[in-house]
Amino acid sequence: MIETKHIDFYYGAFHALKDVSIRIEPHTVTAFIGPSGCGKSTFLRLFNRMNDLIDGVRLTGECIVDGVNIYNKSVQVDDLRKKVGMVFQKPNPFPKSIFENVAYGLRVNDVQNKAFITQRVEESLKSAALWEEVKDKLKKSAFELSGGQQQRLCIARALAVSPSILLMDEPASALDPISTSKIEELIHVLKQEYTIVIVTHNMQQAARVSDRTGFFMLGELVEYSDTKKMFLNPEKVETQNYITGRFG
């Protein structure tokens, strides 16, 4: 479970997130939508502390994952990132073989048992619905795969370290429609085992894949509710304007 309390976030002097509080239940898909620069990706990247990599950022408030404030000094960021996996906007496989891409997370976390690694690679590729397409060419470079396959490989790579939460930052925005629908189907299946948080530009996609939707604008969480309700009967006029295309 993820919970934030009164998160404020700054890039230097820029106030990127304003008093955002949210609760995300396990085994659900939560989508964040909103216009470019509204803070939805920034908010997503708080959950695995990817924003730590940027200079000059500042955070106040609490971000609690499974009962622990992940910004406590006692939290080791690499342990957190094992638990909270991430898939990025552009497929970013490593210049390694398909097998080594999926095994990477295990190897850097000191897993050495070869049989276990082989087994996890197969399981993860199956979970990412990629196994059938690549099982005969695991030694081939990941760059030989199509964009959509590469993105599913990145999902498999994230799953291999057995996270409980999967963050997806516009995972289909660089893909063609067929690859996109494969990723969306995958999200439906994966939510039985994982808590999924997805940022998307595409409102139809949010409507198709998510249980809950949060609408961000200018760093504020304007509305957060069940996806159906959000798209059929939004409470706020800003939300209404955005999802009907009058703004954004």
């Binding site: 990817m50 990132r81 996996g85 990025f88 210049p95 990477y104 997370g105 850097v108 790579r157 994230a158």
Partner: protein
Amino acid sequence: MNKRKKQRIAFAIFRLLSLVVVGILLWILGFIIYRGAGTISWEFLTSAPTDGMTGGGILPAIVGTLCLVAGSVLFAFPVGLMSGIYMNEYAGNGFVVKFIRVMTNNLGGIPSIVFGLFGMALFVNTFGFGDSIIAGSFTLGLLILPLIIRTTEEALKAIPQSFRSGSLALGASRFQTIVRVTLPMAFPNIVTGLILSIGRVSGETAPILFTVAAYFLPRLPHSIFDQVMALPYHLYVVATSGTDIEASRPIAYGTALTLIVIVLLMNLLAGLLRRYFGGKVKTD
């Protein structure tokens, strides 16, 4: 004049000038080969100079230059690589890094004769190495250090951030990310920097003048504390200050040709290395 005509004339000039550059290069090479090829023989490459450097071969100078290349790279490559990694991957963009960067660039701008003088003061005298391979290697190493740091930094900078993010998001440490992802990807370009520095080291005369190079020492070195002859300095000696300059003229051209061939061979080797590593990490 219409725009098509203008374009035709402009491109004609560009083409002509690039051909002139190639022409000059071929001319130099051709000239050296024409004058030097006759001198080159198995004996020339494998024996020591004789008869006041008007006869015999240049083996001690070849060996000396190879020792200096190996020594300086052995010293400068690890140091330069690690500094480059530190500056691009760890240090952020604070005052300290900017200072180091400016200083590194300044170091690169210092005339090589000054390095020679400094090397003599520090390595030869203060450290007491005397005129020796080790003193020369350190001096040449200092000379190419900025180049290696610079190319390492640039090579790492060219790796898209997304690869680092991808690795870190899987729980890898920054060090693991560098060793397993970033550095292998940057390696082909780092090797290019190394090639350039090897070319530089083999050809530099000034830094070795006071630190290692021997005027005439017709034997091979026994340890890193020995003096050696070196190809560029030997070339200078036989061309300008030998015992009989006219008689040693062919030896000068033979030495020049040998030097060029050694540098070309090293470039070739490094190119193969680059292709080998490049093949492993191709990014599409």
